[in-house]
Amino acid sequence: MTYIAKKCGVCFQPPSIILIYKEDNKDKTRQRIMPVRNFSKFSDCGLAAEQLKNNPRHKAYLEGVSLHQLQKLYSLLKGHLGGESLAESLEKFRQEETIDPEEDMNKLDDKELAKRKSIMDELFEKNRKKKDDPDFVYNIEVEFPQDEQLESCGWDVESGEEI
C-alpha cells in the first residue's frame, strides 16, 4: 500500500505529529495522529525525527515527508515546551535559514559551513537547469556589458585601498 503525504504538522496539546494523506488510488483524505512520547525541551530533535521516520508503525506513511520537515516540527514542539511563542520559534527558523550576507564564511567550522551551504543549495537547486531537463543547453552565453555608465554595485568604496 502506498500513502501519499499531503500535509504534515505538529499539535502541541496533546503533543503529536499529524499527517494528512491519501491512500494510493483512493480519493478519501485521511488523517493520522502520531503521539509524541518521551520528548522534552531537552530532547534532540534530529534523533526524535529519525526515530519517528523509522518507527515500524508509521514508516510507510511518512515516506513522503522529509526528515528535515519532521525535525522542524519537533523543534517547534521543543520551543513550545521551553516557553517560546510560535512566532519566536518561527523567527528562529527564519534566521537559521537565511544567509547573513556580511558573514565571513572562511571563518566557520565544517559543520557551520555545511549548514550555510545547504541553505544556499536550496536556491541553487531551485534555479538549477539539469542535464536531463528537456530545455537544457550546455553552452549558454549572455553578454553583460560593463560600461562606465552603469550604476556602481556599491561594494567598491570605503575599502581604504580605493583612495
Binding site: L113, I140, E141
Partner: protein
C-alpha cells in the same frame, strides 16, 4: 578486462606526453561556488581526485585549442581557503587563475583583494579571470558595475553555476588563456624556473663528466 584497462592507461600516458598540459587554479572564499562551476562545466565527464591530505580537489579535462590536444588540470581548493591563504604548491606552475566571488555576499568581493595579492606574490603574470557567480539569485546585479576587475585590467564574467550562464565560455576562455600563456610565457618566475631546471641538468652532466673540477675541495674560509 585488466588488459584493456592497462592498454587504455598506456594510451592515456602516451597521449599525455604528446599533448600540451596546463594547470588552472580556482581561488575565492568558501561557498562562492567554485566546485559547482567546475561541475557544471564538466557535467558527468569529470573525474575528481580528492587529495584530502593537501585539501585540494583535482579535475582532469581534455580540450582542443586550435586543433591541439590539451590536457587541463583544474585545481579546486577543497576547504583550504579557510586558512585565508593557500599553500605555495597550489600556485606552483599554474598557467591561469579563475577567481570567484558570490554576488550575494559583499565580503567575498572584498576578499578578492587578498586573494589577488597572494596570487600575484606567487604568479605575477598569469592570466586571471574575475567571476561574479550566482547571478541567477538576482539578475539585477548584472546591470551594475564591479570595479575590481577593471582596476587590475582583468577579464570579468557574470556567471551562474545553477542555470549555466557563461560557465562554458568562462572555462573555455580560461583554457585558451592558459595555453597561450604557457606557449608565450614571459613570466619572470617561469624563466627562473626554466633556468633552474636546465641548471640542474647541466650540473648533473658536469658532475658525471669531470667530477673533480665541478666539486672543488672545500676550504676553510680564510681569515
Amino acid at each position: 578486462m585488466a588488459d584493456a584497462a592497462a592498454a587504455e592507461q598506456a594510451r592515456d600516458e602516451a597521449a599525455a606526453s604528446a599533448e600540451e598540459t596546463v594547470k588552472i587554479i580556482c581561488l575565492g572564499d568558501s561557498a562562492v561556488g567554485k566546485s559547482k562551476l567546475l561541475e557544471r562545466f564538466l557535467l558527468d565527464g569529470f573525474r575528481p581526485q580528492q587529495l584530502s591530505t593537501f585539501a585540494l580537489t583535482l579535475y582532469k579535462y581534455r580540450a582542443r585549442v586550435d586543433g591541439q590536444a590539451v590536457l587541463v588540470d583544474f585545481w579546486d581548493t577543497a576547504g583550504q581557503e579557510r586558512f585565508q591563504s593557500m599553500h605555495a604548491s597550489y600556485y606552483h606552475k599554474a598557467h591561469a587563475c579563475i577567481m570567484v566571488f558570490d554576488v550575494q555576499r559583499k565580503v567575498t568581493y572584498k576578499n578578492l583583494n587578498s586573494w589577488y595579492k597572494e596570487l600575484r606574490e606567487f604568479r605575477p603574470e598569469i592570466p586571471c579571470i574575475v567571476v561574479a557567480n550566482k547571478i541567477d539569485a538576482d539578475m539585477k546585479v548584472t546591470q551594475k558595475s564591479f570595479n575590481f576587475a577593471r582596476k587590475f585590467s582583468l577579464p570579468f564574467y557574470f556567471v551562474s553555476a545553477a542555470d549555466g550562464t557563461n560557465v562554458v565560455k568562462l572555462f573555455n576562455d580560461a583554457i585558451k588563456l592558459a595555453v597561450a600563456y604557457k606557449q608565450n610565457s614571459g613570466d619572470f618566475m617561469d624563466e627562473v624556473m626554466r633556468e633552474l631546471e636546465s641548471f640542474d641538468l647541466q650540473k648533473t652532466t658536469e658532475n658525471l663528466s669531470d667530477k673533480e673540477e665541478s666539486c672543488p675541495e672545500e676550504k676553510p674560509p680564510s681569515a
